[in-house]
């Protein structure tokens, strides 16, 4: 039983990172209708920027995190303006390939600047774990979980109560109608990329603290696509929930089947992905699109 509980908790913590990345996917998809495949690479880039600020520039860590988020925010604007703006009205393949091209560029840039080595942040959290009842949870996992939930509520209230958030929902619903009541679609697109990149960077910092600062943490981006699909491409809360579900399933697969089939944990998200696509393609909370000719 204790084994199962431990698996459950470790699944929740990795699932929370999946959830944050999935939230980034959903933020962009909701407003612009684009699935940004490069989300994982932006996450990795954010982790490296934080490393650069905190270790190479010797800034205190509490300052490095917000600076990273601000950097990612403007990076998002830049990506939208330079790479995705010309893709408006282009075919789906062009859009997918554009974000895949971004994957290559980000990966290459990180490899050129920092190389394929494993780096780590200065220890900024206390070593001893947090005890909840009989459970011992590592500090980073605990705070990561809190941040993910907090960020979800920030995003949700942003969509619900602020003016630009309302504009973003309007654009997601009907671009032409939104434009005709004076919503600037360009600004909404830029905003959603910016927020999504900040989210990814936050996830990157958490993940890099849990593992290490290395370029392979970008793989979490592809794995969390299945989290997006479990929740549905349009649902903010669904993405976090999907992330947690995927994380827990992955952790249980690794724990119980890992000895007989090695590497089952890495492949599990993709098997779930394929099954969901076959059974319930629009996810738990997604919208089913009705097409007209």
């Amino acid at each position: 039983m204790e084994f199962a509980t431990n698996l459950f908790v470790s699944g929740l913590t990795i699932g929370m990172v999946y959830g944050l990345v999935a939230l980034g996917f959903v933020l962009i998809y909701k407003a612009t209708g684009i699935l940004n495949v490069a989300q994982g690479e932006i996450l990795m880039f954010g982790a490296f920027i934080c490393y650069c600020l905190s270790v190479q520039l010797n800034l205190p860590f509490w300052l490095a995190i917000p600076l990273t988020l601000v950097f990612a925010f403007f990076l998002g604007f830049l990506i939208e303006r330079v790479f995705l703006r010309p893709m408006i009205g282009q075919s789906l393949l062009a859009v997918v390939m554009m974000t895949i091209g971004l994957i290559s560029i980000f990966k290459g840039v990180v490899l050129v600047i920092w190389g394929p080595v494993s780096l780590s942040y200065p220890p900024y959290l206390p070593k001893e774990p947090i005890h909840i009842g009989a459970l011992a949870i590592a500090q980073v996992n605990f705070w990561g979980f809190i941040i993910a939930i907090f960020w979800l509520f920030v995003c949700m209230s942003f969509f619900r109560y602020t003016k630009i958030g309302t504009a973003m929902r309007a654009v997601a619903d009907d671009q032409q109608a939104a434009q005709s009541v004076g919503v600037s679609i360009k600004r909404v697109f830029g905003m959603s990329w910016a927020i999504s990149c900040s989210t990814a960077a936050m996830g990157g910092i958490i993940l890099a603290t849990m593992l290490s600062v290395i370029y392979t943490i970008a793989d979490v981006g592809l794995a969390s696509i299945s989290a997006v699909l479990v929740g549905g491409l349009e649902s903010l809360g669904g993405s976090i929930l999907g992330g947690l579900i995927i994380g827990v399933i992955q952790s249980f697969c690794e724990g119980y089947l890992g000895e007989s089939i090695s590497g089952i944990g890495e492949i599990a998200p993709y098997v779930i992905l394929l099954l969901i696509l076959l059974i319930k393609p629009y996810g738990l909370f997604g919208l089913k699109r009705i097409e007209r000719i």
Binding site: G101, V109, Y270, L274
Partner: protein, 350 residues
């Protein structure tokens, strides 16, 4: 819109349907084929190996072009299907004692069947959802190859015997070149004629609007699965050839990045054009060879430069794809058509 040379009038249906319409076309065709048949006589080992690599990649890219460029179904599992073909052929030849000439069609059929199975989600899904389904297919195929150690040798890979025909052995680049060349010609012939038939037109109709195509009486089930079968079959042929050429295959040759590169080939070459894969593969392979030689040259004076070669390949690939998507989304094949038309129409280009 292709412009025939001035003064060409089609008076019969045969003339109208001909691929090589004028005598000049035929002269070009024969001389180009003769040139490439004679290529091993004067080319060195290095040039030959690049040529073989280009041929094999073009065969696979033809498949992806039929699937993605003509039928509009995006697949990022093409490299994995190449792996299916390579392993199928290798296992048939080395474990079951088949000859290569039987194993090649078998691997085409097997890769096509796997393609049908993993392409089945395309019946319900499209757009991003289909992209994700093929992404899952890529990882699952790679996982199966890696874990089915009894058959595939796992991560250590397996060695593949060379091709034999009675007592001839095709184990040098000079001899293998001809096999790759012949398969390339055959596959180009099949691809070119497939897209001119009813099947090819059905693919294009599905690409343009699948609901409208279904309303017009095109069976989506049949043609979507057929396009997966054909596309993956080409990949299987390319994989089989590749395995018998490098003689040592392992799962790390058939990764996600490989599949992404195939998409890059057909986008840069030109989607929905038989010439597209030729342009794309040749352009990328030559660019990367130039990059390699630049870095090798640099490493003479800066030894640490060699460490950046992988990263800069990634950056260059990404930049080329991104720039093409922004500035020439129809690819090099479209540019070629424009050049041809302006040559034909000169001096009255209106």
């Amino acid at each position: 819109m292709p412009y025939p040379p001035c003064g060409t009038f089609n008076e019969t249906y045969e003339q109208d349907a001909a691929i090589f319409r004028t005598k000049a076309h035929w002269v070009w065709l024969v001389s180009v084929i003769l040139f490439f048949l004679a290529f091993p006589i004067f080319a060195d080992e290095y040039l030959l190996s690049i040529a073989i690599l280009i041929y094999i990649y073009i065969i696979a890219a033809h498949g992806l072009n039929l699937l993605t460029g003509f039928a509009g179904l995006i697949s990022i599992a093409h490299s994995a299907f190449m792996g299916v073909g390579a392993y199928c052929s290798a296992i048939l030849v080395s474990n079951l004692g088949f000859s290569f000439w039987l194993a090649l069609p078998c691997s085409v059929i097997f890769a096509g069947l796997i393609g049908i199975i993993l392409g089945a989600p395309s019946l319900r899904l499209k757009g991003f959802y289909l992209v994700m389904a093929t992404l899952a297919a890529q990882f699952i195929i790679n996982f199966v190859i890696m874990r089915w150690k009894v058959l595939t040798g796992g991560v250590y890979g397996m060695s593949v015997p060379s091709i034999t025909l009675s007592n001839m052995e095709f184990d040098t680049n000079q001899s293998f070149y001809y096999i790759a060349f012949i398969v390339l010609i055959l596959s180009t012939y099949v691809a070119k004629n497939l897209v001119r038939t009813q099947v090819g037109r059905a693919f294009v109709a599905i690409r343009d609007n699948d609901l409208a195509a279904e309303v017009m009486g095109i069976s989506l089930t049949k043609y979507k699965l057929l396009s997966f079968a054909v596309g993956c079959g080409f990949a299987g042929a390319a994989g089989s050839l590749w395995g018998h050429w490098v003689r040592m295959i392992s799962p790390e040759h058939f990764t996600l990045m490989g599949s992404v590169w195939f998409l890059g080939y057909i986008i840069v070459g030109g989607l929905g054009s038989i010439l597209g894969p030729f342009f794309g593969v040749i352009f990328f392979t030559l660019t990367m060879e130039v990059l390699n030689s630049v870095f090798t040259g640099l490493s003479a004076s800066y030894p640490e430069a060699i460490g950046y070669i992988f990263a800069s390949r990634e950056i260059i690939f990404g930049l080329i794809v991104v720039l093409f998507l922004i500035f020439e989304p129809r690819g090099l094949a479209h540019r070629w058509e424009i050049i041809k038309a302006s040559y034909r129409l000169y001096p009255f280009s209106y």
